[in-house]
């Protein structure tokens, strides 16, 4: 594959279709700048500020853009909140749609046949593939990203985090908890210097 793609890049550069410096910048952006740490800050702020949470649930695109995250594959955002009785999970059964500005590029499993086939039929089974479970009376809401709407799960704030700063809260927010295939870390999972 390395040889094949190098040949393609050479050809497209020689044709004048791509600028190699632009390619480097695209890679740098998604490898080092954009990633789930962005989404974690959004979630932490929603946990800490009720007004922001309300805005995020009402107009996610604007509320997320206000934190500096916008653009490609996040043009139309919707945030879905977990509650004590509802657990949300996001999938794209048809391809690989994923909210890039807040989560970065999707992991391999998200684009794989097992996840794309199973999430809409057996989300509880998917969670157990991740070694996670939720109480039996919790309802699953699965969001299949079949259009240009991109979904982000707002997980429940873990107990025992009262008074934590947003920076501390963000440490608890895992990528998978924002897809719905995981839960946030617990307070005791991270060392906090209060």
């Amino acid at each position: 594959m390395d040889v094949r793609v190098r040949a393609l890049q050479t050809l497209l550069t020689d044709k004048g279709y791509v600028d190699p410096a632009a390619l480097d910048r695209i890679i740098e952006t998604y490898e080092t700048e954009v990633g789930p740490h962005n989404g974690a800050k959004v979630v932490a702020r929603a946990w800490a500020e009720p007004d922001y949470r309300e805005w995020l649930l009402r107009d996610a695109t604007a509320a997320i853009a206000a934190m500096g995250y916008s653009g490609r594959q996040g043009e139309h955002m919707v945030v879905v909140p977990n509650t004590e009785t509802v657990h949300n999970m996001v999938v794209c059964t048809l391809c690989s749609c994923y909210p890039w500005p807040v989560l970065g590029l999707p992991p391999v499993w998200y684009k794989s046949a097992p996840y794309r086939s199973k999430a809409v039929m057996d989300p509880r089974g998917v969670l157990s593939d991740f070694g996670v479970s939720v109480p039996a009376d919790v309802t699953f809401r699965v969001w299949d990203s079949t259009a240009e709407i991109r979904y982000l799960v707002l997980p429940l704030r873990p107990p025992g985090t009262e008074g934590w700063t947003q920076e501390q809260l963000a440490e608890l927010v895992t990528r998978d908890s924002m897809i719905g295939t995981g839960l946030p870390l617990r307070a005791q999972d991270v060392a906090v210097t209060a």
Binding site: V18, H76, D176
Partner: protein, 227 residues
């Protein structure tokens, strides 16, 4: 198209296999595959629905055996050949035999950040009122178009409830069928429609599972009420 890509509800693929501390890329060629796909997309020679259509039109075995970045690469190469941007031989050898088309303007380094931060809105002006409202029961049409569509097979023919009116968005079926020079990016009302798992998968399904898809107005019919 009822393609291999339409995976919702298929069985036998085994458990999801998360990878601990997964890197963003697993090989250098994946970095280049991403960058080439994004940069060529920015030249405007095809739209996102045409790119998706090219990916899901790959030979089914190839689609299943490929990694996702390989799917992207195959589709990228096929789209370039189909549009006369390069020949198959050039792509195989990496050797240029004819100069590039001057009409194809590369995405410049200086414009990358702005292009990524802006993205491409799928929203269009509202030209007529929405046909459906939140809370309304609708049936996903039992239709099997040969071209690109975004109504997954597993909801077709089933009854759900509109839970959100998203706005007017570009209709992928028409957008993918764009002929160069002809504007086919008109919008249509888009809705989130939620289905009970038992409606989709039968009485043995988990009664505590609900699944929603985003469906355009022309994918849906109002539920005929009992006479």
């Amino acid at each position: 198209m009822n393609g291999v890509h339409d995976m919702g509800g298929m069985q036998g693929y085994g458990p999801v296999q998360p990878e601990l501390d997964e890197p963003v890329f697993h090989a250098n060629w994946e970095r280049q595959a991403l960058a080439l796909t994004v940069a060529m997309g920015a030249t405007g020679q095809w739209n996102i629905d045409q790119a998706r259509s090219a990916r899901e039109s790959l030979p089914p075995l190839r689609y299943m055996q490929n990694s996702y970045y390989q799917i992207w690469l195959d589709a990228l190469e096929n789209m370039m050949v189909a549009r006369g941007l390069a020949t198959h031989q050039e792509i195989t050898t990496g050797q240029l035999t004819q100069p590039g088309l001057p009409a194809v303007k590369p995405l410049a380094r200086a414009k990358v950040d702005a292009a990524l931060a802006q993205g491409t809105s799928a929203e269009r002006l509202v030209r007529q009122p929405a046909r459906f409202a939140e809370g309304q029961r609708v049936r996903a049409l039992n239709q099997h178009p040969m071209g690109h569509t975004r109504l997954p097979r597993y909801v077709r023919g089933h009854v759900g409830t509109v839970v959100k009116v998203h706005g007017v968005h570009v209709l992928p079926d028409r957008h993918a069928a764009t002929v160069q020079g002809v504007d086919s990016n008109e919008g249509e009302w888009l809705y989130a429609v939620v289905f009970d798992a038992r409606e989709l998968w039968g009485p043995a399904a988990d009664p505590q599972v609900r699944v929603s898809v985003d469906a355009w107005e022309s994918y849906l019919a109002p539920l005929e009420t009992a006479a």
